[in-house]
């Protein structure tokens, strides 16, 4: 192993793997350091991997990568205690190449992606915690690992160490996250035969569906419940702002159990056997929480930089894109032989021009709005359920009178102005 690398990447998650692959493919010598036994051993997503951002790195990766199911239907549920208003979209187009997105197990996918990095020439060091960045004259020149004589040097260090972002915090790129800037998610993997999953979710063989659940799925707290279909497993989980879990003294595993027992959910997972239990944080600080991204000899990517679009449950794609853009900036710096913050700020600029920062900017106020105004989750979702109930219960009352009754109910609790204001604010926050 050469003592000094062109680049060191910390964390074999989506952003770190993307950065490593890109740099190694361009001929740079790269060391990727991961604390887990293997890449993916510590990672939790449950979830949906977006094809387009992955394809910018490895074209037609779906032909060889370990994937669960191509997602052909995305459902959205507005759930109340005993009912649900559903909507969604299903497309046959998503069932064909090049696909839109896939469910994946990170325990398998990250391992595969890491092998691609090794094939491209990168050195992967597992079972190793990076404890700090090494600095000389104010610039980052390497990392100190937990191994004896574990100092490694490089021209540039990419911090892709995920949501806890301990290393960027050490460098004072940001302060400790506030409980309102992260969601705490708990999740389980439930085992079920593939045919039963396909029957219950109305799917063709091998195809997948996702359900995002708003309202009672997270007990009315700001967050979502979610159900994703894998080959022989269902991922079910709930993620809620940490600040709100603390405020109501909820226990995350009780919230998960509440969701699993919910009458709208339980038929989907009947007789399914839990096989793994997870907890992980998700960055929810949005645009305003993005830390300093670039320093002399160092850049930050992925969750470590709060790059998650919670409203659309997009994180891995932002991680991959930021990792790739970081790598491109490092490759440029390598060619110029200049690793100063000024040179590396190319990363920051290209990130700003990409969908990553544009999307985060667009939704910069949404989480905050929902946190400060519990009525969105607690009143409007139950209201929508009751309104549907009213309209679709056939009982001899004319539809016109039903409508009147619904509107009356809405405005007995609230003035027309407060409803108008809430609608206006919400539109403004997601416009």
């Amino acid at each position: 192993m050469p003592e000094k690398f062109d680049a060191i990447v910390i964390g074999a998650g989506m952003s770190g793997l993307a950065a490593t692959y890109k740099m190694a493919s361009a001929g740079l010598s790269v060391a990727l350091i991961e604390r887990g036994d293997y890449p993916g051993a510590k990672n939790v997503m449950g979830g949906v991997l977006y094809r387009s951002m992955m394809e910018e790195l490895i074209s037609e990766f779906w032909k060889e990568a370990p994937l669960q199911r191509p997602v052909v239907e995305q459902r959205f549920w507005l759930m109340d205690e005993n009912s649900v208003v559903t909507t969604g979209y299903k497309s046959q187009e998503w069932a064909q190449e090049p696909f839109n997105c896939f469910t994946v197990f990170r325990g398998q996918f990250d391992k595969w992606f890491a092998q691609k990095c090794t094939d491209a020439g990168a050195v992967i060091v597992n079972e190793t915690v990076v404890e700090s960045c090494l600095k000389e004259k104010g610039r980052v020149v390497g990392v100190r690992t937990s191994r004896p004589e574990g100092d490694l040097y490089a021209d540039v260090v990419i911090l892709a160490d995920g949501v806890n972002s301990l290393l960027a915090r050490q460098l004072e790129f940001h302060r400790e996250w506030q409980p309102g800037q992260v969601a705490l998610a708990v999740m389980e993997e439930l085992e079920l035969p593939a045919e039963i999953i396909e029957e219950r979710f109305n799917l063709d063989k091998g195809m997948g569906a996702t359900i995002e659940i708003f309202g009672d799925g997270s007990l009315g707290l700001v967050g979502t419940g979610f159900i994703y279909t894998n080959k022989k497993h269902i991922s079910i989980g709930v993620g809620t702002l940490l600040s709100q879990i603390i405020e109501v003294k909820a226990r995350p595993y009780e919230m998960l159990e509440y969701l699993k027992k919910h009458p709208m959910v339980s038929p989907l997972i009947r007789n399914a056997r839990p096989v793994e239990y997870y907890a992980h944080l998700i960055p929810e600080g949005g645009y305003r929480a993005i830390p300093k991204l670039v320093g002399d000899g160092v850049v930050v990517a992925g969750d470590a930089a709060q790059l998650v679009n919670g409203i659309h449950r997009e994180g891995c794609n932002l991680a991959m894109t930021s990792g790739r853009l970081a790598a491109e900036a490092v490759i440029k710096a390598h060619q110029a032989g200049d690793f100063s913050a000024g040179q590396l700020s190319f990363y920051e600029e290209s990130l700003k021009d990409s969908f990553v920062v544009e999307d985060l900017k667009k939704y910069k106020d949404t989480t905050h709005l929902l946190e400060k105004n519990p009525q969105y989750m607690n009143q409007y979702i139950p209201f929508a359920n009751r309104a549907m109930h009213e309209m679709f219960t056939v009982d001899g009352v004319s539809k016109k009178n039903k409508q009147k009754k619904i509107m009356k109910r809405l405005f007995t609790d609230k003035s027309i102005f407060s409803v108008g204001r809430d609608v206006f604010r919400l539109i403004k926050a997601v416009k």
Partner: protein, 106 residues
């Protein structure tokens, strides 16, 4: 809102033994704790709610004999306690490389 949610959960009568969930996972346990409560008098005297005993998804923290005992062996390494302790009283680091929880799926 707080009350309503607590009632909802109570009504369900969920009697969850967290160990049943934690047993599902694979662990490689280190001898030393990676979680340390810095000052137990802060817990005893300045933290009436003892939030960590509720929000930790692995129920690592128990209030026993006048102090907080972290059962680090079952930690899922999420980081919530580091951010959520209102007194910044938890010294948090990752377990040693290769140790701790090992997920196969997800």
């Amino acid at each position: 809102m707080k009350q309503k949610i607590t009632e909802k959960i109570k009504k369900l009568n969920l009697d969850i033994n967290i160990d049943n969930k934690l047993y599902l996972n694979r662990w490689k346990t280190d001898e030393d704790s990676h979680l340390n409560v810095l000052d137990n008098t802060v817990c005893a005297e300045h933290c009436p709610q003892k939030d960590c005993t509720a929000f930790c998804p692995a129920r690592v923290y128990e209030w026993r004999d006048g102090r907080i005992m972290p059962g680090y062996e079952g930690c899922l390494e999420c980081g919530a306690c580091r951010i959520g302790c209102p007194n910044g009283n938890i010294q948090w680091r990752y377990p040693r490389g290769g140790y701790g929880v090992q997920f196969k799926l997800a």
